[in-house]
């Protein structure tokens, strides 16, 4: 179990409550669960890395528990009650400085400290109908929430009374009707203050809290179906979105145009994540497949069938294709090659002599050929 979990570079949570690990180099998927205790109560809603070394995976379930899974040991090491199911499902899970931040659909954002003391918990009420809560990767105490008829709000956990930024809705449309708000997923653009959101009304908005303008700085539209997931790749200026029809698109953030579509998905996209350094994006959804596309040429690199509907995906920062065993083999092979090459170079001396002879012969041939050619020319004349 431990060996298997150390191999896995992609982690997925499914609707049946099973945590799946996929190792792309070995082309295998592993289930980490107890088959006898499966129940739909443990359906995975959110997943997050427990620490920066990515040795722990936090799994948030429908029944309100957050379970800790250790990738080194390959077992669930703990479970903690973080809220009750009456408040809705988890919509966001994040980790700061040894405390967990959870958000549920009813809008309650709560910070859970390591010890089980109930005091000193910071609580924020972000309004009802929250669909997503995300943490700013560069400023860990900033958290953004958004939902159905609940505009984007950025909260600072040290000042939980009021949001530092509340977005304003776009202007009325061409019929002078209010445009409905439904924030489905949020992303923080690295190296800047900007925030990208995708909505259930096929829009992608970019907000800039540093400017006094609370309305979106840029708006883009894609497709005819609600956008469910969003991810920012390592290269700047683009965003990958997925919708309920299984269409994945790469949008350009400067002009709001579609750069390209990633083909292959047949079902709604539930989880989307870009690799932190490589130009790869992993997507999972209701069609029970994990697909890894390359962002440069938009081709499908890997496709893995996992038998349950998948809810969330988590990529590890290391190289997806490599694992400890494989690198060892590669090094050994290289060493052998070098030894062989030395031997070859030793034996090559005789060969080089022959080649010299050959070159000499070729020169002679060229000379003779030239002479013949000259002869022919004479004859024709």
């Amino acid at each position: 179990m431990a060996a298997k979990s150390q191999l896995c570079s992609i982690w997925l949570g499914s609707e049946t409550g099973i945590l799946k690990g996929v190792s792309l180099s070995k082309k295998q998927a592993f289930n980490f669960c107890e088959m006898s205790h499966l129940s739909r109560d443990q359906e995975v809603c959110v997943m997050a890395w427990g620490d920066t070394y990515e040795s722990e995976v936090l799994v948030g379930c429908v029944n309100g528990t957050v379970r800790t899974f250790s990738t080194d040991k390959g077992i669930f090491t703990g479970s903690r009650e973080c809220g009750d199911p009456s408040q809705g499902r988890f919509t966001g899970l994040a980790v700061t400085d040894s405390s967990w931040i959870t958000c549920v659909e009813s809008g309650l954002v709560k910070v859970w400290k390591e010890g089980s003391t109930e005091s000193d918990t910071v609580e924020i009420n972000a309004g009802s109908g929250i669909c997503r809560m995300r943490q700013n990767p560069s400023q860990k105490h900033h958290v953004a929430t958004g939902g159905k008829e609940n505009p984007l709000k950025v909260w600072d956990l040290e000042k939980p009374d009021k949001a530092i930024f509340t977005a304003k809705n776009v202007a009325h449309d061409w019929l002078d009707l209010r445009v409905p708000v439904w924030v489905r997923d949020i992303g923080f653009i690295p190296d800047s203050d900007k925030i990208v959101t995708c909505t259930g009304h096929q829009q992608v908005h970019v907000y800039d809290p540093s400017t006094p303008q609370r309305r979106p700085v840029m708006e883009a539209k894609f497709g005819e179906y609600p956008l469910t997931a969003l991810s920012l790749p390592a290269s700047q200026g683009t965003v990958v979105v997925g919708n309920t029809h299984g269409e994945l698109a790469i949008l350009d953030l400067r002009k709001g145009l579609v750069r390209g579509c990633l083909k292959g998905l047949a079902g709604s996209v539930r989880g989307l994540q870009c690799h932190p350094s490589l130009p790869l994006v992993a997507s999972c959804g209701l069609d029970r497949f994990l697909r890894v596309h390359s962002l440069e040429d938009r081709s499908l690199q890997h496709k893995v069938y996992l038998k349950s509907r998948l809810n969330c995906v988590l990529l590890s920062s290391r190289e997806l294709e490599s694992s400890t065993d494989v690198t060892g083999d590669v090094e050994e092979v290289k060493a052998e090659d070098e030894k062989d090459e030395d031997e070859i170079w030793d034996t090559m001396e005789t060969v080089t002599e022959k080649s010299k002879k050959r070159i000499a012969q070729e020169e002679e041939e060229v000379v003779t050929g030239g002479k013949e050619k000259k002869k022919r020319k004479v004859a024709k004349k």
Partner: protein, 354 residues
């Protein structure tokens, strides 16, 4: 001049067998005009007299339609003869070898050559069994609910669709047909749920002919959208029997092998009550072949232990899955579990999804 006339007429008559004797006479009359030409004539005569044409010749070069047709028929006959001879020879060889004969070659069909689908369900798979045991149909399969079906159409249906709905209601037990009256499905569904319906069937009509079917499992179940084609009503059936009775039929689901196929199969199975009444001797079949689902309704009778007679009653139709949506009918904001994307999924003739 004469030689030129000869050559042109010969080139024209070269291809016509009927003019052969005339050509021979001509060549005899003028034997030594030009050496090259006579040689070519002789060659042509020799070649044509053996009833085999130069290899570059094909039947389509004959401009006269009747003669071309005659030549084509002759060609076909020859080919058929050769084929029969080959067959006879092979049969003799087989008989001669007896037991040592190599096994008979199975002809390749598209079903034989089907690309293996990785989502094919393995019966011993625990995870899939758990998934199916706890999905939206679990209430039916655990015998907690009985099916109750509401059949309706798109707005203002015409002739064929109305009769099709009535016949569907006779085939599916506990089915009620309601006139649509332009109501929105999203508002109809909560009312159905409150009245205890488990299925909503909407037959879509286009130009007086039914062409689509939306099957929605009610409490919060998946919605499948099908393309409906080849609808034959009872009066168009040959040798149909009496009308289907009220007995619950048996259900046969054929060839639903993949995970998606399983979901659709269960969707159809949950339309019918659990215990079929064998007294009624009626059976409803959903046969999946090449992603098309064929529905037939038969009455059977056992003549003796080995022979069965069947009589087709009831409507017959063909379905093709267009999309499977999780949750009740919500085409704009619902999440799709499977959508048929023609350009991506139909690129191979041997790949099927159900």
């Amino acid at each position: 001049m004469d030689s030129t006339e000869l050559s042109t007429s010969e080139s024209v008559s070269k291809k016509k067998k009927t003019k052969q004797p005339k050509r021979k006479i001509k060549s005899d009359n003028e034997p030594s005009e030009e050496m090259d030409r006579t040689e070519s004539e002789v060659n042509e005569n020799n070649s044509s007299s053996g009833a085999s044409f130069p290899p570059t010749f094909s039947v389509s070069e004959i401009k006269n339609k009747q003669r071309r047709h005659v030549m084509f028929l002759k060609l076909k006959q020859e080919k058929r003869k050769q084929k029969l001879e080959l067959k006879k020879k092979r049969k003799k060889e087989r008989a001669a070898l007896g037991d040592k004969a190599p096994p008979k070659e199975v002809p390749k069909t598209i079903e034989n050559q089907r690309i293996y689908d990785e989502t094919t369900v393995n019966p011993e798979d625990e995870e899939v069994a758990f998934d199916e045991g706890t999905d939206e149909f679990s209430a039916y399969f655990n015998r907690l609910t009985n099916p109750k079906v509401l059949i309706t159409t798109s707005d203002r249906p015409r002739g064929r669709t109305v009769r099709f709905c009535e016949q569907l209601a006779t085939v599916v037990p506990h089915a009620h047909v309601y006139y649509r009256r332009g109501l929105a499905l999203k508002r109809v569904i909560p009312q159905c749920v409150s009245r205890g319906f488990t299925y909503l069937l909407v037959v879509n009509e286009d130009r007086k002919v039914p062409n689509g079917l939306v099957v929605c499992h009610l409490p919060d179940g998946p919605t499948a959208h099908f393309k409906l084609s080849s609808v034959r009503l009872r009066k168009e059936m040959k040798r149909k029997g009496k009308a289907p009775t009220e007995h619950t039929p048996e259900v046969i689901l054929n060839n639903f092998t993949t995970r998606l196929g399983h979901s659709i199969g269960r969707l159809f199975a949950a339309l019918f009550p659990h215990d079929p009444q064998f007294v009624g001797r009626q059976v409803a079949t959903f046969h999946n072949q090449r992603d098309f689902i064929f529905f037939r309704f038969h009455r059977y009778i056992f003549k003796n232990e080995k022979r069965v007679g069947i009589q087709e009653l009831g409507p017959r139709f063909t379905l093709k899955l267009r999309s499977l949506q999780k949750g009740t009918f919500d085409s704009k904001f619902g999440e799709y579990e499977w959508v048929h994307k023609r350009h991506e999924m139909d690129s191979s003739r041997r790949k099927f999804h159900l």
